[in-house]
């Protein structure tokens, strides 16, 4: 749990900009990670958790990629490679506990619904 609201709140001022809305990662932290040697979006993800939250990066990766490209001089299409990991939507853990097979062709599906994995 990262409930560190009280300690870190001084990092927030009226001009604070969130690049990663989900994990609350500030623009200044992305800048610092790049200055510290991050060379790609995946690097930034690993160092800061940006891109690892609920939206899986859709609302921050384009910005981070542009920042890295600008800072490193590497063209954006070399910098922006990211690893898409499941799940791409939030999934309740309980739902994963009980998976069963299904087949798109319904003519075959009725038996396999009951078979489990």
């Amino acid at each position: 749990m990262r409930d560190t609201g009280r300690d870190e709140r001084e990092m927030l001022d009226a001009g604070a900009v969130f690049v990663c809305r989900c994990e609350e990662i500030l623009l200044d932290e992305i800048v610092a990670a790049i200055a510290d040697g991050a060379q790609s979006v995946d690097d930034i993800k690993r160092r800061s958790r940006a891109g690892m939250g609920t939206c899986q990066g859709i609302f921050c990766v384009p910005v981070i990629a542009a920042m890295v490209a600008q800072a490193t001089g590497v063209p954006i299409d070399r910098v922006a490679g990211i690893t898409a990991r499941p799940p791409v939507r939030p999934v309740m853990l309980e739902a994963l506990a009980d998976l069963h097979s299904d087949v798109a062709d319904e003519g075959e599906s009725t038996a396999s619904d009951e078979e489990g994995l």
């Binding site: 560190t4 609201g5 927030l12 809305r21 609350e24 939250g53 939206c55 609302f59 939507r89």
Partner: protein, 123 residues
């Protein structure tokens, strides 16, 4: 267009008449509570829509800095509208339809409700 029934001094309202979409059909009202206060929703709409129409803006606060959020993407992809519903945390208000009697609360951080409410409920 007349602006009856605006909520809050920010002028939130249901759009009851629309040049393209027509009149908003009257449906059975769905009553639920938000932090203990009664909110009247419309059949089929998500919790977030009912709350915004009622004039509420804050749905949750965040874990790291405690900043307030009030919805952003409306399609269940971001993290701004997660609320506590009937004691269950991380419920996306933008996707969850209103149903009668829901107990909806502002979510503090990753899973909390306000300390006063928690004391009241004995949790």
């Amino acid at each position: 267009m007349e602006e009856r029934g605006e909520s809050g001094d920010h002028g939130a309202t249901r759009i009851s008449a629309h040049p393209i979409l027509g009149d908003l059909p009257q449906g059975p009202p769905i009553e639920f509570t938000f932090d203990g206060a009664v909110v009247v929703g419309r059949q089929g709409e998500p919790i977030a829509a009912a709350l915004f129409a009622a004039g509420y803006r804050v749905l949750r606060t965040m874990a790291r800095f405690g900043d307030a959020r009030g919805g952003y993407c409306m399609v269940g992809r971001c993290t701004d509208c997660l609320v506590v519903v009937n004691g269950i945390s991380n419920v996306p208000a933008c996707l969850t339809p209103v149903t009668a009697g829901l107990d909806v609360r502002i979510q503090f951080g990753l899973a909390e409700i306000a300390p006063e409410e928690a004391a009241e409920r004995g949790t």
